[in-house]
């Protein structure tokens, strides 16, 4: 199978899974998913996945740990978030920081 076909297959499967999860919430009776432990775990899974994605996408390339312009860019993003900047500003500030650092470093 070509890489393109794999991507299509994966994105259709993932979209089906995400929609099925939404439907489950609308269709199942409230009691078991409303159990505090389930809700707490689901909330922590979201935190863990997003945090891991931040770490992996900032500090790795392939299977190597790498420290490059992405790290200072992330620090700038964190500062923007601390100042309550909107999402688009946070993302743009990080991109601009990395781009400028790379341009300066040649």
């Amino acid at each position: 199978m070509s890489p393109d076909a794999v991507t299509w297959l994966a994105l259709l499967a993932a979209s089906a899974v995400v929609l099925a999860i939404k439907l489950v919430g609308h269709l199942v009776p409230e009691h078991w998913l409303a159990e505090p432990r389930v809700a707490r775990t689901a909330s922590l899974v979201t935190v863990a996945l997003l945090a891991a994605l931040v770490g992996v996408q900032t500090l790795t390339t392939g299977s190597h740990l790498v420290l490059d312009a992405r790290f200072p860019a992330l620090v700038v993003a964190a500062a923007a978030l601390a100042l309550r900047a909107p999402f688009i500003v946070v993302v743009a500030a990080a991109a601009a920081t990395a781009a400028v650092l790379r341009a300066v470093a040649g």
Binding site: A14, L23, V47, L50, A52, F87, A93, A94, A98
Partner: protein
């Protein structure tokens, strides 16, 4: 967008208001407020569809695949995670698993919204598809049944339309830009994830979980295939969430966050 009230706190009041006459002046005001709120949330959220579109193309997807994600998956965290895992060289299976796990909270939103919406027939799958952080937040902020329904549907449909329009704009822009590294787009992706997790880092348990997730994911990166380190971080969260029933979480459970569609 402000942090919404957890649904549990407003549920009692809503049960009483369900008996109110729908066309009362009070409800009309509530509906107008909800629609206004919906539109501003839809514009703010839709706008950062630009960054998703551009990042998806930078991760190696074409414009059609990028649009398919925004149209069919329509859940920002899951979409960003999907392209993140694929872009880092992860397998399709790892991308599907990560996107699915990040979409798990939508089930909790559905549980909150279903009894308030009373949707039947073809409206039900439609309501499920637009059940996201923002529509749940604006919906549950409504104080009357009419305001709840108006807030949910206007926000859900509004974000859907604008998120897709701006995804297309971002994808076309990303295609025109060329090498994403020159513009720092590879740094924009983790910044987007940081912005998504930021409002959830409330309380010691959430912060400890985030830290453990980063350490585990980085430690595993050199030794396991791409995509697996992020999934391993989810296992960490499941262990912490399941074995510490008394863990004090300051974040209201299932509360929608600030920025994510």
């Amino acid at each position: 967008m402000s942090r919404p009230r957890p649904a549990g706190r407003v549920r009692a009041g809503r049960a009483a208001s369900l008996t109110r006459v729908r066309s009362s002046d009070h409800d009309d005001d509530g509906v107008r407020t909800a629609v206004r709120q919906s539109l501003s949330v839809a514009v703010a959220t839709g706008l950062y569809g630009i960054s998703f579109g551009a990042l998806a193309v930078a991760a190696g997807l074409d414009v059609a695949q990028t649009m398919a994600l925004s149209l069919l998956m329509f859940s920002g965290g899951s979409q960003f995670a999907f392209i993140g895992v694929l872009g880092a060289g992860g397998s399709g299976g790892a991308a599907v698993a990560t996107a699915g796990l990040l979409g798990a909270r939508n089930a909790l939103y559905g549980i909150q919204m279903a009894p308030l919406l009373g949707a039947h027939g073809w409206r039900r799958p439609l309501a499920a598809h637009v059940t996201i952080d923002e529509s749940t937040a604006v919906g549950t902020a409504g104080r009357t049944p009419g305001a709840v329904r108006a807030g949910f549907w206007w926000t859900g449909v509004g974000v859907f339309v604008l998120w897709n329009a701006f995804t297309l704009a971002g994808a076309l822009l990303g295609e025109a830009l060329g090498d994403p590294r020159t513009y720092g787009l590879d740094a924009a992706a983790p910044a987007a994830f940081l912005a998504l997790v930021w409002p959830r880092l409330v309380g010691a348990t959430a912060r400890a979980t985030a830290l453990a997730a980063v350490v585990v994911a980085l430690a595993l990166t050199p030794v396991v295939p791409a995509g697996i380190p992020v999934l391993a971080a989810a296992v960490v969260a499941i262990v912490i969430g399941w074995t510490r029933p008394d863990a004090a979480l300051a974040t209201p459970v299932g509360a929608p966050e600030r920025t994510e569609p």
